[in-house]
């Protein structure tokens, strides 16, 4: 498999996953904001931080109103992380790897981009938004299923697995971090809504129902963190993502060193004790994890995707 093609399938998966995460995040917060009183001062800026677009948005010097942030997240051309751009970048990556991605996959992504171009600008209106996000989520998941069900699980597919799971792990740590940031503000009026906050974190990762089923306790911060970091079976839990990454790496040539690194990161997760962490500690912990995930990304690029050496 060509390195250039491997790189594009890797990014294809990252953008698809990012689009799905963003769509879910927007959909969950749209519901949450209806529940919270204005005094909590939780608004779309929190979503902006969760999506990692905060600094870029600040640089645009837009007015920071909810509607403004929302269109920035949904469809702004200048926002590399906007939902529409994630879809468009995913499509570009398929366009340049059409020789290996199943044709139905290309068709589905192509249709989705056409849908996004038409409907994402309209999704700033609350009433349309839920419907548009639900449609996007459904289509994105069907693309994931389509790739899983019709593409041979050879090398190209392993790069899809790597991209998907690194993006997921990154998102999960970011969601924990955002909760920490809100708690660090330590405003008394928020105490009442701590549960709601952690429930929202779970929902944003599509984890609420599975948490209920497997943790069987009320929603508490440390339990949520435990579940999202350590659960071996939940697809968005960091430990699970790292296992998937390990599995994919093992099917690639010369992966021994990177596999060893991932295994040690995964083992270190168990040393984290959420009970003992305050908000600042949670923030520090998620920051460290994000750095390690970023490092893993760099290693993958260097090992397989950038072969500059002449023969």
């Amino acid at each position: 498999m060509l390195s250039r093609v491997a790189e594009r399938t890797y990014w294809l998966a990252r953008y698809l996953e990012r689009a799905e995460n963003t769509a879910r995040l927007i959909s969950v917060y749209s519901a949450l904001l209806l529940d919270l009183p204005k005094s909590t001062q939780i608004g779309w800026d929190v979503v902006l931080q969760s999506s990692g677009c905060g600094p870029a948005y600040a640089a645009t010097q837009q007015n920071g109103s909810g509607a403004d942030i929302l269109s920035y997240l949904l469809h702004d051309d200048s926002n590399a992380g906007s939902l529409l751009n994630s879809l468009q970048f995913a499509r570009e990556n398929v366009r340049t790897t059409r020789d290996i991605v199943p044709n139905e996959g290309w068709r589905a992504i192509n249709e989705l981009v056409m849908y996004g171009r038409e409907y994402l600008p309209k999704a700033t209106h609350r009433r349309q938004r839920a419907q548009v996000m639900a449609h996007l989520l459904e289509k994105l998941q069907s693309i994931t299923g389509l790739l899983d069900g019709t593409m041979s699980h050879g090398q190209p597919y392993q790069f899809i697995m790597l991209g998907r799971n690194l993006e997921r792990a990154d998102m999960t740590t970011r969601m924990i971090d955002v909760a920490a940031a809100v708690l660090m503000a330590n405003r008394p009026e928020l105490q009442l809504y701590q549960n709601t906050l952690w429930m929202t974190v779970l929902r944003s990762l599509g984890a609420y129902q599975m948490y209920r089923q497997y943790v069987r306790r009320r929603v508490r911060g440390p339990d949520v963190i435990n579940f999202l970091l350590l659960d071996a079976d939940f697809p968005h839990a960091v430990a699970h993502c790292l296992s998937e990454v390990t599995g994919a790496l093992k099917k690639l040539p010369d992966s021994g060193e990177i596999v060893a690194g991932v295994l040690s990161t995964r083992a270190e997760l168990h040393l984290i004790d959420p009970q003992a962490l305050d908000a600042a500690g949670i923030h520090q912990m998620s920051d460290d994890l994000q750095l390690q995930i970023g490092g893993l990304h760099e290693q993958i690029i260097a090992q397989w995707l950038r072969l500059e050496s002449p023969a």
Binding site: M1, L2, S3, R4, V5, A6, R95, T96, T97, R98, D99, I100, N103, W106, R107, N110, E111, M114, Q155, L252, P253, W304, L305, L307, P310, A311
Partner: protein, 480 residues
Amino acid sequence: MTTDWSTYESGSAYDELIGASGAARDAGARLARYLQKLGNTKLQRRQEAAERAIAEMGITFTVYTDGQNIDRAWPFDVIPRVLPAAEWDRTAAGLRQRLRALNCFIADIYGERNFIRSGRMPESVVATSGNFLPACVGARPPHDVWANICGSDLIRGDDGVLYVLEDNLRVPSGVSYMLENRAVMKQVFPEVFAEQTIRPVDDYPSELFDMLASLSPRPGDDPEVVVLTPGIYNSAYFEHAYLAQRMGAELVEGGDLVVSDDDCVYMRTVAGLKRVDVIYSRVNAEFLDPEALRPDSLLGVRGLIRAWRGGHVAIANSPGTGVADDKVVYAYVPEMIRFYLDEEPLLPNVPTYLCSEPDQLQYVLDHLPELVVKPANESGGYGMLVGPHATHAEHEKFRQLVKANPRNYIGQPVVQLSTVPTLVEGGFEARHVDLRPFILQGRDTYVTPGGLTRVALRRGSLVVNSSQGGGSKDTWVAED
């Protein structure tokens, strides 16, 4: 509302579906009846369905000057062009004959030059050809075939005869649209295909792969075939990706390939370097290798010509093939067929006046308002004069151009392209078409059943290029 063919009017042009009497020709009779029964409203709806399918399937072509929006939907008309099977079989034989002769000619030009020595063509035609590559002299590609993929343009005159207008031997494109047009039509008109025997076109990618594999320098092994593309900004990128996908071949760019010390070509893969046997090149030959050809090329692979000359890799089409893709050389093809094959040409050329010959030059200059004047090396319909549609000032401009560089121009009578009914608001109108079949030659030869019918969507226009307002139609070779 049903369709009434009696009001349909194709002027002096030959219409492919409706005969002079106003009745449908035999091969298209069922189609004409079907369209009549369906009626305009329903047909418009099918057209919309086809356009939707094209958008969803992502069938696009690329326009250079379009800024960021590099993808445009492929313009398509749902009314097919029908060719009778018996006529097509004769045409296909003529196309095979032509490509065999052209390949003998190219091998001869880079070899002994018997065609020139015997006085059949002046040496100067080759010496002044922009597409002659000295780096290729003496090379011997597999099976002595240089042009492995040829897209010839056929036009039908008002006499009903199919003429060869030109032979595209460099990097002919359009075959993916031929395949996708059929896929769209099957989706939109399944019932028509069920009722009538129309020759399938789907096997082209596998024929192409087999042909390419037959060129491999390592017979016996599973050859590694790759499609070399200039990249996503090329107007035919869609097709490069499409063919790679359908053949199960890697789609590579110049930067993915490297020529090693052993003069073999390798591609950079996640598992290191992997040997490449056959390159289906969609990069213009002069850009293939900065070492042997254009030093400023960023698209090519350093040392590729060395690897190719050494027989370590096959390239289709062979570099240098373009020497026969020249409108002056074209005029000599009938003579080539007699010289190399000792056969009479099965397909006629359009009469051609060579401005390089003094008496023919004089004829062209005297008859500019009646002729089409074309530069010898351009493609895509650019830089030509259509005499009857041009102004006096344009005639004079071309008079100067031709006088300044006679070798670079040819003149041809205007051929009234045939027409096919085409859907317009409120009904059908006649629109001019051409036809580009694709011919393969490796160990064996193959011709697509039909080919790509391009249609000038503007009323009266003769320009069928998609970059200049052209569209396309499905092409049916209908069994009797």
